[in-house]
């Protein structure tokens, strides 16, 4: 079971899961300018609402497989 670090906290996800699985329930990926939570909508790389920072780059959590030790930051 891979363990990823989300905003400094360890989160265990199922083998083969995508990063969205580590974003909580309901999943939160980033915040709007007014601070409202934003999260995955389409689950297939179209809406760009699931953007997270992974090692300095922005990635789509719904398309990125979770791997042991990944450090993710939410905007």
């Amino acid at each position: 079971m891979p363990r990823v670090i989300v905003d400094g906290r360890p989160v265990d996800v199922a083998e083969g899961a995508l990063l969205v699985a580590a974003l909580g329930l309901p999943p939160v990926a980033c915040r709007s300018l007014s601070g409202e939570p934003r999260g995955p909508l389409c689950g297939m790389g179209q809406c760009f609402e699931c953007r997270v920072q992974l090692e300095g780059r922005e990635v789509l959590a719904c398309l990125t497989p979770a791997r042991e030790g990944m450090e993710v930051r939410r905007g």
Binding site: L33, F48, R51, R57, E58, G75
Partner: protein, 372 residues
């Protein structure tokens, strides 16, 4: 109901006309088929730019800029007016040689313009590619958020007494009025046709074609960019007539996002994104701002500019249709020039002297419009 003025279309141009006419005391009703500012206006970049393709173009741009600045306090913060200025970037020494005369032409026209050598250019925008030789800064240009501009102008018109009706489609123009899609006939002292490209559906002989454009917007990178950047070769692309072209345009949004433009295509009537053109646009942008490779694009979309044969809009009476005024065909400058258009339309409706010479924009300059 017998309003003095019926305006067809609630894009930025129709909304600006409604605001100007209502403020000057006309009884105004604006009819918008869908939502306010949802046409070309919603797709646009919102660069309020003094473009000098011709004296007439520059005059309309400058009046538009002055009016936006005067309206801004009343329209409020949602307009997102950002006085960031334009930085015209030369691609090479050949283009750099054109900067000095261009600066002089701007100054002769009374517009502040500053020549930047390579060093000043990179101080102004550190992310520009090191090999770029310089450019010209025009500090008086600015940026707004176009769909908010249309909505805020319509709301200002409403405060001045105008009626703003959405979801109402005009089916045809009739003598002394018009007919709605549901068959209702409305009469008025005059009708202002501000339906953008769709104006041609109501008056088929209008010399209007549509030119498609792509835009893309990135994630937020506050502080990455300080000016609206435009490649100096832009005018070639903007006024060239036939082939598909791509011109580099990059705009800092107040929230830190970067808005990237733009392509120009004729003959592609579908709103779909063409990935080959989007790729060309991005590659072009990377040649000016290589660090963009580290910034992800989150959305891309297309829009259509309403184009006339001489690249000037159609503003004023339509010969053969008493009471019908045109306010359409604004190409890639309609956001900038909407309030100037409104001034010309208001002067025509009220029979007073306009702030600038209306002749270059009169529909009657085209032979197919000069006679009924």
């Amino acid at each position: 109901m017998n309003p003095d003025v019926l305006i067809v279309g609630g894009g930025v141009v129709g909304a600006a006309c409604a605001q100007a006419l209502a403020t000057e005391g006309c009884r105004v009703t604006l009819l918008e088929a869908e939502g306010l500012g949802g046409g070309a206006t919603a797709a646009a970049m919102g660069h309020l730019v003094a473009l000098d393709g011709s004296d007439a173009e520059l005059a309309l741009c400058r009046l538009g800029q002055a009016r936006w600045n005067a309206l801004a306090p009343d329209l409020g913060a949602a307009l997102e007016l950002d006085p960031c200025g334009t930085l015209w970037v030369a691609a090479d020494e050949e283009e750099m040689a054109l900067v000095k005369p261009r600066c002089e032409a701007y100054r002769a026209a009374g517009i502040e313009a500053e020549l930047l050598d390579a060093r000043a250019l990179h101080e102004a925008e550190p992310h520009l590619a090191p090999h770029l030789p310089g450019g010209m800064r025009v500090p008086g240009d600015s940026v707004i958020y176009p769909p908010a501009g249309a909505r805020l102008l319509a709301e200002a018109a409403q405060r001045a007494g105008a009626r703003i009706l959405t979801g109402i489609r005009v089916a045809s123009l009739e003598p002394h009025g018009l007919r709605l899609a549901d068959g209702t006939a409305l009469s008025a002292g005059c009708v202002v046709l501000a339906a953008g490209s769709a104006s041609k559906a109501l008056i088929p002989r209008l010399p209007l074609v549509r030119r498609k454009g792509h835009l893309a917007i990135t994630e937020r990178r506050p502080g990455f960019l300080h000016h609206q950047l435009v490649e100096l070769g832009y005018l070639k692309s903007a006024h060239g007539s036939d082939t598909d072209s791509v011109a580099f345009n990059l705009q800092p949004r107040p929230n830190g996002q970067l808005l990237l433009g733009s392509s120009r295509q004729f003959g592609d009537e579908a709103p779909d994104i063409r990935t080959t053109l989007l790729r060309r646009m991005i590659e072009q942008a990377l040649s000016y701002v290589p660090d963009l490779a580290q910034v992800s694009v989150v959305r891309a979309w297309t829009g259509f500019r309403p184009i006339t044969p001489d690249h000037r809009p159609l503003i004023g009476p339509l010969p053969g249709h008493p009471g019908v005024l045109l306010a359409c065909g604004h190409e890639g400058l309609g956001i900038t020039t909407a309030p100037a258009t409104a001034e010309l339309i208001a002067a025509e409706v009220l029979g007073r002297k306009p702030a600038i010479d209306p002749a270059p924009y009169l529909p009657s300059r085209f032979p197919e419009l000069a006679h009924a």
